[in-house]
């Protein structure tokens, strides 16, 4: 099992967490109901050490699961040793981007390094699909490197904006996001369900 983009991951996460939330609410409600009953008996007994082992397995297993199913985790950790297919240097100052080109066109499964430098404030760098869902993001701190390696496995045209608050000057008086760059990234060459044709 591998998630080839964030949309798949978020959809999985939505289902998994909703099931968990429904379960924990039901368990406590059931527990509360039975607390008031004299004849309530334990349906099952959870030995303490098994419960603790379950929590440990949950806490550690979650990270092992994501490391093995989300491709950008290992890529991110090892990004300094990976040669990207393309590097895009971006600068930002006074809430204005200095972009290498108006639109970046990326081929399917290309590994791209975005290198973003802030000259003043702490910003963010995030790509979003046309429906508003997030492709990826990172923080952009002044004075330290902010680079993210990303492999695009699905076609799409993505908008870019700052994902970190950097003051009200990011917006017009009417609330329009002045840092949003429409259609900044275009990915082509993938099959309909993702990955290279």
């Amino acid at each position: 099992m591998t998630f080839t983009n964030s949309a798949q991951l978020l959809a999985f996460h939505w289902v998994a967490y909703s099931i968990y939330a429904a379960m924990i609410i039901s368990i406590v409600a059931w527990f509360g109901y039975n607390l008031t009953r004299k004849d309530a008996k334990s349906v099952f007994r959870i030995p303490f050490y098994w419960y603790m082992a379950f929590l440990v397995a949950g806490g550690v297993g979650h990270h092992i699961f994501t490391y093995n199913t989300i491709p950008w985790v290992s890529e991110d950790i090892d990004r300094h040793n990976i040669k990207p297919d393309a590097v895009y240097n971006i600068e930002v100052k006074n809430h204005k981007w200095k972009l290498p080109t108006k639109q970046i066109v990326i081929q399917c499964e290309e590994r791209v390094l975005f290198n973003v430098k802030s000259h003043d404030l702490t910003y963010g760098f995030g790509l979003f699909r046309q429906d508003g869902s997030m492709v990826m993001q990172m923080q952009v701190n002044p004075g330290t490197p902010n680079d993210i390696l990303w492999t695009f496995n699905h076609n799409g045209v993505f908008n870019m904006t700052s994902t970190e608050y950097s003051g009200p000057h990011q917006y017009s008086e009417d609330g329009e996001d002045l840092m949003e760059v429409k259609n900044f990234v275009k990915v082509t060459g993938c099959k309909e369900g993702g990955l290279k044709k």
């Binding site: 609410i25 509360g32 985790v73 990172m138 330290t144 000057h169």
Partner: protein
Amino acid sequence: MSFTKNLIEGTNFDHKSLNALQKVTLRSVVMSFLFYGLVALEGMIMRMVEVGRVPGNPVPEQFFHPDHFFSIMTVHPIVGIFGSTYQLVFGAFLFLVPYLTKKPLYSVKLANWTWLLITLGTALAWMAAFVWQYAPLYTLYWPLPADTSQFSAIGGVVFIIGVALIMFGTFGFIYNIYATIFARVGVHKDKTMKELLISGFGIDGLLNLMNKLRGKPPYTKEPALALPVVAIFRGTVDTFLDAVVILGAGILVLVFLLADLSGASWDVSAIDALLYKNFFWWGLDLVADGLVLIYVAGSWYLLATLITGQKLFMENVARAALMLELLVSWMVWSHHLLGDQGQPEMMKLISGEMVTAFELLTQGLALFITLVTLWKARPLKMTMELKYLLGGLIGFGLAVPAAIIQADMGMNRVLHNTQWIIGAHVHIALIVGLYMTLYSAVYVLWPIVTNNTKLYSHKLSNTHYWLHLIGGIGMGAFMGMAGLDGMLRRHLYVDGQFNPDMIFAAICGSMLLIAWFVFLYNIVMSVGIKGLIGIFLPAEDKTASYGIEDEIEPADDPAFAN
């Protein structure tokens, strides 16, 4: 009794019968709930702005302006965390520590200064945003708070002074708590400082466990401090460290703002933004992952034992776990920096992921111990305090795993700074987990602190409970869903891009606001307006303790006990 008479006189509340300790506790509680109303209103305004400029939205146009919107967003957590939560927790603990240790509070005067300073500080910080629209948000990411091209330097100075006053009030609370715990009077007359320290850190619980494993008699059969006091002792260590860090950051910002006002132009890049972020999050995270979790665990243990009237299940394990939580809470801040590429990968992995995952264990353990303690005492009557306690357990049962999920390098890439974090995790942890636990404590302590005042209406209490529970979970859930759809948390959306999620979140948010009105109405009708005013009048009975016969005043100055 007529409505008017109830409104003015209350049920049977007599403020003159309250002693100094009871009054100072109630003062904090009253201020806390007033600030809660303000924070709920602020939250609703922001939620309605996010619903967008749609027909029928009653929010005036000025709130859609970024200056105004982010001013509200800046003070919302200040009012909520410090003005409301801190005051409620501090008020409760300043009563509980003397009550549980059977000793008088070190100083009622200092306790009065605590709520006064926090109230004044919160009001000043709020004014800075309202009048000068100072809006660097609570995160204060460097160099934004010192950016005078976007914000008024005077507004910034007022804001920092406000936050500093809150921290001074916090130091007052800390001093009072430790001075009371370490006072060798009453039941602790023969205890040494070492014994109290060992018990405070939960080391006696660990030694008891180790002795049990080695087949030796317990280190102590009667620990010097009750378990909830141990939790307060431990949580207060983090409260202190957190206050030092926030005050330190405040001084840094203040120095730059004052330099700007004096005409000098200091280079903000002299401060490393990422290093500052580490420093600031280390301290700020001690609120979320330190004192809140520890105070909550302690409150659960106390509530479970008071509700059941029985001993806590696995008390030694609970004591030892509180010590473990101390170490864990100091090492988890990097989960806030998983999206910062300059942060060393090892710190992300160890502090951000692995140590953070430990919180699943410590909080899961507290949940387990509380549930088993309740279960062993069944059948129990479903009282308001029990209902709220179960609500609190649900809140953390939802919010803690949500936190562990997002404290992951893979998930964080798409969840960081989204509404998922602030909704599914933070708001559910605070509104459902923390507040419902605190409401449970309010119902448990109500007869003790108010000298058996009859509550105006149990129906209203129930209404409040369900509105708060459903509203809290619902709002967090819809915010979380919007986050999964890509909605950022510190961003202005004015076109309703994330409807219908935001509409549903606003409906649930309004349930929370109505719940607060219902609760407030119930309390005012119970104590009456006369009683409410009376709480703030000097106490005739200067006693600084509750439930003990011989009164000893540990403060050097006898005038402290007023």
